[in-house]
Protein backbone atom coordinates (compact mmCIF):
# COMPACT_ATOMS: atom_id res chain seq x y z
CA UNK A 1 0.00 0.00 0.00
CA UNK A 2 2.79 2.40 0.97
CA UNK A 3 4.44 1.41 -2.21
CA UNK A 4 1.56 2.38 -4.47
CA UNK A 5 1.11 5.68 -2.64
CA UNK A 6 4.78 6.38 -3.15
CA UNK A 7 4.59 5.47 -6.82
CA UNK A 8 1.68 7.89 -7.30
CA UNK A 9 3.71 10.57 -5.57
CA UNK A 10 6.66 9.82 -7.83
CA UNK A 11 4.47 9.98 -10.92
CA UNK A 12 3.22 13.42 -9.84
CA UNK A 13 6.74 14.63 -9.16
CA UNK A 14 7.87 13.37 -12.58
CA UNK A 15 4.92 14.94 -14.40
CA UNK A 16 5.81 18.31 -12.88
CA UNK A 17 9.45 18.27 -14.08
CA UNK A 18 8.73 20.95 -16.71
CA UNK A 19 7.13 23.02 -13.95
CA UNK A 20 10.27 22.60 -11.85
CA UNK A 21 12.46 23.83 -14.72
CA UNK A 22 10.18 26.70 -15.64
CA UNK A 23 9.74 27.83 -12.03
CA UNK A 24 13.42 27.49 -11.23
CA UNK A 25 14.54 29.95 -13.89
CA UNK A 26 11.71 32.42 -13.29
CA UNK A 27 12.35 32.25 -9.53
CA UNK A 28 16.03 33.11 -10.02
CA UNK A 29 14.92 36.28 -11.79
CA UNK A 30 12.47 36.93 -8.97
CA UNK A 31 15.22 36.55 -6.35
CA UNK A 32 17.55 38.84 -8.30
CA UNK A 33 14.91 41.54 -8.72
CA UNK A 34 13.83 41.36 -5.07
CA UNK A 35 17.41 41.69 -3.88
CA UNK A 36 17.97 44.55 -6.31
CA UNK A 37 15.17 46.44 -4.60
CA UNK A 38 17.10 46.28 -1.36
CA UNK A 39 14.80 43.94 0.50
CA UNK A 40 16.16 41.66 3.21
CA UNK A 41 17.06 38.34 1.67
CA UNK A 42 14.63 36.33 3.78
CA UNK A 43 11.68 38.38 2.51
CA UNK A 44 11.48 37.03 -1.09
CA UNK A 45 12.39 33.54 0.13
CA UNK A 46 9.57 33.44 2.69
CA UNK A 47 7.26 34.89 0.06
CA UNK A 48 8.14 32.10 -2.38
CA UNK A 49 7.71 29.45 0.30
CA UNK A 50 4.27 30.69 1.32
CA UNK A 51 2.72 32.09 -1.88
CA UNK A 52 4.01 29.91 -4.72
CA UNK A 53 2.63 32.40 -7.22
CA UNK A 54 4.54 33.96 -10.10
CA UNK A 55 2.90 37.19 -11.23
CA UNK A 56 1.47 37.86 -7.79
CA UNK A 57 4.94 37.85 -6.24
CA UNK A 58 6.56 40.07 -8.87
CA UNK A 59 3.85 42.66 -8.35
CA UNK A 60 3.87 42.13 -4.59
CA UNK A 61 7.61 42.70 -4.24
CA UNK A 62 7.29 45.83 -6.37
CA UNK A 63 4.54 47.22 -4.15
CA UNK A 64 6.35 46.31 -0.94
CA UNK A 65 9.57 47.96 -2.12
CA UNK A 66 7.62 51.13 -2.87
CA UNK A 67 6.01 50.97 0.59
CA UNK A 68 2.50 50.56 -0.74
CA UNK A 69 -0.40 50.59 1.68
CA UNK A 70 -1.85 47.31 2.93
CA UNK A 71 -5.11 48.03 1.09
CA UNK A 72 -3.25 48.54 -2.16
CA UNK A 73 -1.28 45.32 -1.75
CA UNK A 74 -4.42 43.42 -0.78
CA UNK A 75 -6.47 44.56 -3.77
CA UNK A 76 -3.64 44.13 -6.28
CA UNK A 77 -2.98 40.54 -5.22
CA UNK A 78 -6.72 39.85 -5.10
CA UNK A 79 -7.20 40.91 -8.72
CA UNK A 80 -4.06 39.25 -10.08
CA UNK A 81 -4.80 35.96 -8.38
CA UNK A 82 -8.59 35.88 -8.69
CA UNK A 83 -8.26 33.21 -11.39
CA UNK A 84 -7.26 30.75 -8.65
CA UNK A 85 -10.84 30.89 -7.40
CA UNK A 86 -12.06 29.73 -10.80
CA UNK A 87 -9.42 27.02 -10.97
CA UNK A 88 -10.41 25.81 -7.52
CA UNK A 89 -14.03 25.39 -8.70
CA UNK A 90 -12.88 23.44 -11.71
CA UNK A 91 -10.40 21.24 -9.80
CA UNK A 92 -13.00 20.50 -7.11
CA UNK A 93 -15.03 18.67 -9.75
CA UNK A 94 -12.08 16.52 -10.70
CA UNK A 95 -11.06 15.38 -7.22
CA UNK A 96 -12.28 11.86 -6.41
CA UNK A 97 -14.68 11.50 -3.45
CA UNK A 98 -12.13 9.72 -1.25
CA UNK A 99 -10.11 12.94 -0.93
CA UNK A 100 -10.68 14.16 2.62
CA UNK A 101 -11.39 17.70 3.69
CA UNK A 102 -7.97 18.21 5.31
CA UNK A 103 -6.35 17.00 2.11
CA UNK A 104 -8.27 19.66 0.18
CA UNK A 105 -6.74 22.33 2.42
CA UNK A 106 -3.29 21.07 1.42
CA UNK A 107 -4.07 20.60 -2.26
CA UNK A 108 -5.38 24.19 -2.35
CA UNK A 109 -1.94 25.47 -1.37
CA UNK A 110 -0.40 23.90 -4.47
CA UNK A 111 -3.18 24.71 -6.95
CA UNK A 112 -1.01 26.96 -9.11
CA UNK A 113 -1.70 27.58 -12.81
CA UNK A 114 0.75 24.89 -13.80
CA UNK A 115 -0.22 22.18 -11.31
CA UNK A 116 -3.88 22.84 -12.10
CA UNK A 117 -3.16 22.45 -15.81
CA UNK A 118 -1.49 19.08 -15.30
CA UNK A 119 -4.09 17.82 -12.82
CA UNK A 120 -6.91 18.63 -15.25
CA UNK A 121 -5.46 16.43 -18.02
CA UNK A 122 -8.27 13.99 -18.79
CA UNK A 123 -6.06 10.92 -18.42
CA UNK A 124 -4.72 11.87 -14.98
CA UNK A 125 -6.17 10.31 -11.85
CA UNK A 126 -5.75 13.01 -9.24
CA UNK A 127 -5.10 11.21 -5.98
CA UNK A 128 -3.74 12.99 -2.92
CA UNK A 129 -0.21 11.50 -3.27
CA UNK A 130 -0.19 12.37 -6.97
CA UNK A 131 -1.01 16.01 -6.27
CA UNK A 132 1.60 16.08 -3.48
CA UNK A 133 4.10 14.94 -6.12
CA UNK A 134 3.15 17.84 -8.38
CA UNK A 135 3.51 20.21 -5.42
CA UNK A 136 6.85 18.72 -4.44
CA UNK A 137 8.48 19.44 -7.81
CA UNK A 138 6.94 22.86 -8.30
CA UNK A 139 7.53 24.08 -4.72
CA UNK A 140 11.16 23.01 -4.78
CA UNK A 141 11.77 24.60 -8.17
CA UNK A 142 10.22 27.86 -7.06
CA UNK A 143 11.84 28.06 -3.62
CA UNK A 144 15.35 26.92 -4.58
CA UNK A 145 15.29 29.15 -7.64
CA UNK A 146 14.48 32.09 -5.37
CA UNK A 147 17.28 31.12 -2.96
CA UNK A 148 19.75 30.93 -5.85
CA UNK A 149 18.63 34.30 -7.22
CA UNK A 150 18.89 35.97 -3.83
CA UNK A 151 22.30 34.63 -2.80
CA UNK A 152 24.08 33.87 -6.07
CA UNK A 153 22.44 36.27 -8.52
CA UNK A 154 22.13 35.35 -12.17
CA UNK A 155 23.94 32.01 -12.12
CA UNK A 156 22.31 30.97 -15.37
CA UNK A 157 23.54 32.82 -18.49
CA UNK A 158 20.95 35.32 -19.80
CA UNK A 159 20.69 33.50 -23.14
CA UNK A 160 19.54 30.34 -21.34
CA UNK A 161 17.15 32.23 -19.05
CA UNK A 162 15.62 33.93 -22.06
CA UNK A 163 15.09 30.63 -23.90
CA UNK A 164 13.71 29.01 -20.73
CA UNK A 165 10.96 31.64 -20.80
CA UNK A 166 9.09 29.47 -23.28
CA UNK A 167 9.11 26.37 -21.03
CA UNK A 168 5.82 26.87 -19.20
CA UNK A 169 3.96 28.16 -22.27
CA UNK A 170 5.16 25.11 -24.19
CA UNK A 171 3.90 22.89 -21.39
CA UNK A 172 0.46 24.54 -21.59
CA UNK A 173 0.46 23.91 -25.32
CA UNK A 174 1.36 20.26 -24.76
CA UNK A 175 -1.63 20.06 -22.41
CA UNK A 176 -4.27 21.65 -24.62
CA UNK A 177 -3.29 20.62 -28.16
CA UNK A 178 -4.01 16.86 -28.04
CA UNK A 179 -7.59 17.24 -26.67
CA UNK A 180 -8.21 20.22 -28.96
CA UNK A 181 -7.34 18.19 -32.04
CA UNK A 182 -9.80 15.49 -30.99
CA UNK A 183 -12.68 17.73 -29.93
CA UNK A 184 -14.25 20.58 -31.86
CA UNK A 185 -15.89 22.06 -28.73
CA UNK A 186 -12.54 22.25 -26.93
CA UNK A 187 -10.90 23.77 -29.99
CA UNK A 188 -13.67 26.39 -30.12
CA UNK A 189 -13.32 27.26 -26.43
CA UNK A 190 -9.56 27.70 -26.81
CA UNK A 191 -9.93 29.81 -29.96
CA UNK A 192 -12.53 32.08 -28.35
CA UNK A 193 -10.40 32.50 -25.21
CA UNK A 194 -7.37 33.41 -27.33
CA UNK A 195 -9.33 35.94 -29.37
CA UNK A 196 -10.81 37.68 -26.32
CA UNK A 197 -7.46 37.73 -24.58
CA UNK A 198 -5.84 39.27 -27.69
CA UNK A 199 -8.59 41.91 -27.87
CA UNK A 200 -8.00 42.80 -24.22
CA UNK A 201 -4.27 43.03 -24.78
CA UNK A 202 -4.26 45.04 -28.00
CA UNK A 203 -7.37 47.23 -27.91
CA UNK A 204 -6.32 50.30 -25.94
CA UNK A 205 -9.58 50.74 -23.99
CA UNK A 206 -9.30 47.23 -22.57
CA UNK A 207 -5.56 46.89 -22.18
CA UNK A 208 -5.61 48.80 -18.90
CA UNK A 209 -7.45 45.81 -17.42
CA UNK A 210 -4.18 43.93 -17.03
CA UNK A 211 -3.35 40.24 -17.06
CA UNK A 212 -5.33 39.27 -13.97
CA UNK A 213 -8.69 40.32 -15.34
CA UNK A 214 -7.85 39.27 -18.86
CA UNK A 215 -7.43 35.59 -17.94
CA UNK A 216 -10.66 35.54 -15.94
CA UNK A 217 -12.79 37.39 -18.49
CA UNK A 218 -11.47 35.39 -21.44
CA UNK A 219 -11.60 32.08 -19.58
CA UNK A 220 -15.11 32.57 -18.21
CA UNK A 221 -16.56 33.91 -21.45
CA UNK A 222 -15.04 31.15 -23.58
CA UNK A 223 -16.05 28.35 -21.18
CA UNK A 224 -19.58 29.75 -20.87
CA UNK A 225 -19.91 29.94 -24.64
CA UNK A 226 -18.65 26.37 -24.87
CA UNK A 227 -21.21 25.24 -22.30
CA UNK A 228 -24.02 26.92 -24.26
CA UNK A 229 -22.97 25.74 -27.72
CA UNK A 230 -21.72 22.28 -26.78
CA UNK A 231 -23.33 21.15 -23.50
CA UNK A 232 -21.80 17.92 -22.18
CA UNK A 233 -23.58 14.90 -20.83
CA UNK A 234 -23.08 14.81 -17.06
CA UNK A 235 -21.12 11.69 -16.25
CA UNK A 236 -20.94 10.31 -12.75
CA UNK A 237 -18.25 7.77 -13.41
CA UNK A 238 -16.17 8.20 -10.30
Amino acid sequence: MQNTKFSMFRRGAADAVPVFLGYFTVAITFGVIATGKGLWSWCPIIMSMTCLSGTGQFVGIDLIASLASFAELFSAILVINARYFLMGLSLSQKLPPEIKLWQRFIIAFGNTDENFAIAMLPEKQVTFPYFLGLMFSSWNGWVWGTVMGVFLGNVIPPSVTSAMGVALYAMYIAIIVPPAVKSKPIMTVIAVACIISCIIKFVPIFSSLGGGWSVIISGVAASALGAVLFPMEVTQDD
Partner: protein
Protein backbone atom coordinates in the same frame (compact mmCIF):
# COMPACT_ATOMS: atom_id res chain seq x y z
CA UNK B 1 4.02 57.19 4.75
CA UNK B 2 5.02 53.86 6.15
CA UNK B 3 8.58 52.89 6.81
CA UNK B 4 10.32 49.68 5.79
CA UNK B 5 10.07 48.11 9.21
CA UNK B 6 10.03 44.50 10.22
CA UNK B 7 6.35 44.83 11.14
CA UNK B 8 5.52 46.25 7.72
CA UNK B 9 7.32 43.44 5.89
CA UNK B 10 5.82 40.69 8.01
CA UNK B 11 2.31 42.11 7.60
CA UNK B 12 2.80 42.37 3.83
CA UNK B 13 3.91 38.75 3.67
CA UNK B 14 0.91 37.68 5.75
CA UNK B 15 -1.47 39.61 3.48
CA UNK B 16 0.04 38.07 0.36
CA UNK B 17 -0.16 34.58 1.79
CA UNK B 18 -3.74 34.98 3.03
CA UNK B 19 -5.07 36.42 -0.23
CA UNK B 20 -3.27 33.92 -2.46
CA UNK B 21 -4.07 30.88 -0.34
CA UNK B 22 -7.59 32.13 0.40
CA UNK B 23 -8.48 32.36 -3.28
CA UNK B 24 -7.15 28.86 -3.94
CA UNK B 25 -8.74 27.36 -0.86
CA UNK B 26 -12.25 28.86 -0.68
CA UNK B 27 -13.62 27.34 -3.88
CA UNK B 28 -11.85 24.01 -3.44
CA UNK B 29 -13.03 23.53 0.13
CA UNK B 30 -16.56 24.95 -0.13
CA UNK B 31 -17.49 23.15 -3.33
CA UNK B 32 -17.16 19.47 -2.50
CA UNK B 33 -20.20 18.06 -4.29
CA UNK B 34 -20.17 17.00 -7.90
CA UNK B 35 -22.32 19.52 -9.74
CA UNK B 36 -24.93 17.90 -11.92
CA UNK B 37 -26.43 20.91 -13.70
CA UNK B 38 -25.69 20.56 -17.38
CA UNK B 39 -24.51 24.13 -17.88
CA UNK B 40 -22.26 24.38 -14.82
CA UNK B 41 -20.85 20.91 -15.41
CA UNK B 42 -19.96 21.77 -19.00
CA UNK B 43 -18.69 25.20 -18.00
CA UNK B 44 -16.27 23.82 -15.42
CA UNK B 45 -15.14 21.08 -17.80
CA UNK B 46 -14.22 23.71 -20.39
CA UNK B 47 -12.64 26.07 -17.86
CA UNK B 48 -9.09 24.60 -18.01
CA UNK B 49 -9.02 25.08 -21.78
CA UNK B 50 -10.44 28.60 -21.64
CA UNK B 51 -8.04 29.67 -18.91
CA UNK B 52 -4.98 28.05 -20.50
CA UNK B 53 -5.84 29.46 -23.92
CA UNK B 54 -6.02 32.95 -22.45
CA UNK B 55 -2.74 32.44 -20.58
CA UNK B 56 -0.90 31.31 -23.73
CA UNK B 57 -2.26 33.89 -26.17
CA UNK B 58 -0.97 36.35 -26.95
CA UNK B 59 1.64 36.28 -24.18
CA UNK B 60 3.74 33.49 -25.70
CA UNK B 61 4.69 35.82 -28.54
CA UNK B 62 6.15 38.33 -26.10
CA UNK B 63 8.13 36.24 -23.62
CA UNK B 64 11.43 37.22 -25.27
CA UNK B 65 10.64 40.94 -25.14
CA UNK B 66 13.27 42.96 -23.29
CA UNK B 67 12.48 46.56 -24.28
CA UNK B 68 9.33 48.67 -24.37
CA UNK B 69 8.24 47.13 -27.66
CA UNK B 70 9.17 43.82 -29.19
CA UNK B 71 11.82 43.60 -31.93
CA UNK B 72 11.42 41.48 -35.06
CA UNK B 73 14.17 39.12 -33.90
CA UNK B 74 12.56 38.60 -30.49
CA UNK B 75 9.23 37.95 -32.14
CA UNK B 76 10.72 35.34 -34.48
CA UNK B 77 12.33 33.51 -31.54
CA UNK B 78 8.99 33.45 -29.72
CA UNK B 79 7.19 32.26 -32.84
CA UNK B 80 9.71 29.44 -33.29
CA UNK B 81 9.15 28.38 -29.68
CA UNK B 82 5.40 28.41 -30.23
CA UNK B 83 5.60 26.42 -33.49
CA UNK B 84 7.96 23.85 -31.98
CA UNK B 85 5.65 23.33 -29.01
CA UNK B 86 2.59 22.90 -31.25
CA UNK B 87 4.33 20.45 -33.59
CA UNK B 88 5.75 18.34 -30.76
CA UNK B 89 2.32 18.33 -29.09
CA UNK B 90 0.66 17.14 -32.29
CA UNK B 91 2.99 14.16 -32.13
CA UNK B 92 1.73 13.65 -28.57
CA UNK B 93 5.10 14.01 -26.88
CA UNK B 94 5.16 14.22 -23.08
CA UNK B 95 5.04 17.54 -21.24
CA UNK B 96 8.76 17.53 -20.46
CA UNK B 97 9.77 16.72 -24.03
CA UNK B 98 7.58 19.46 -25.50
CA UNK B 99 8.77 21.95 -22.92
CA UNK B 100 12.48 21.23 -23.35
CA UNK B 101 12.13 20.89 -27.13
CA UNK B 102 10.71 24.40 -27.36
CA UNK B 103 13.45 25.76 -25.06
CA UNK B 104 16.18 24.19 -27.20
CA UNK B 105 14.60 25.48 -30.43
CA UNK B 106 14.38 29.03 -29.05
CA UNK B 107 17.95 28.82 -27.77
CA UNK B 108 19.29 27.69 -31.16
CA UNK B 109 17.43 30.42 -33.05
CA UNK B 110 18.65 33.05 -30.60
CA UNK B 111 22.24 31.91 -31.06
CA UNK B 112 21.89 31.83 -34.86
CA UNK B 113 20.51 35.36 -34.85
CA UNK B 114 23.49 36.63 -32.92
CA UNK B 115 25.77 35.23 -35.62
CA UNK B 116 23.94 37.04 -38.39
Amino acid sequence: MTEMTLEYLVLCLVIMFLVTYGLRMVSLVLLRKKLTGKFIYSFLSYTPYGVLGAMIFPDIFFFTQTGVSITAGEFICAAVGFATAVILSLFKRGLTTVSLGAVVAVFIVQQLMQLI
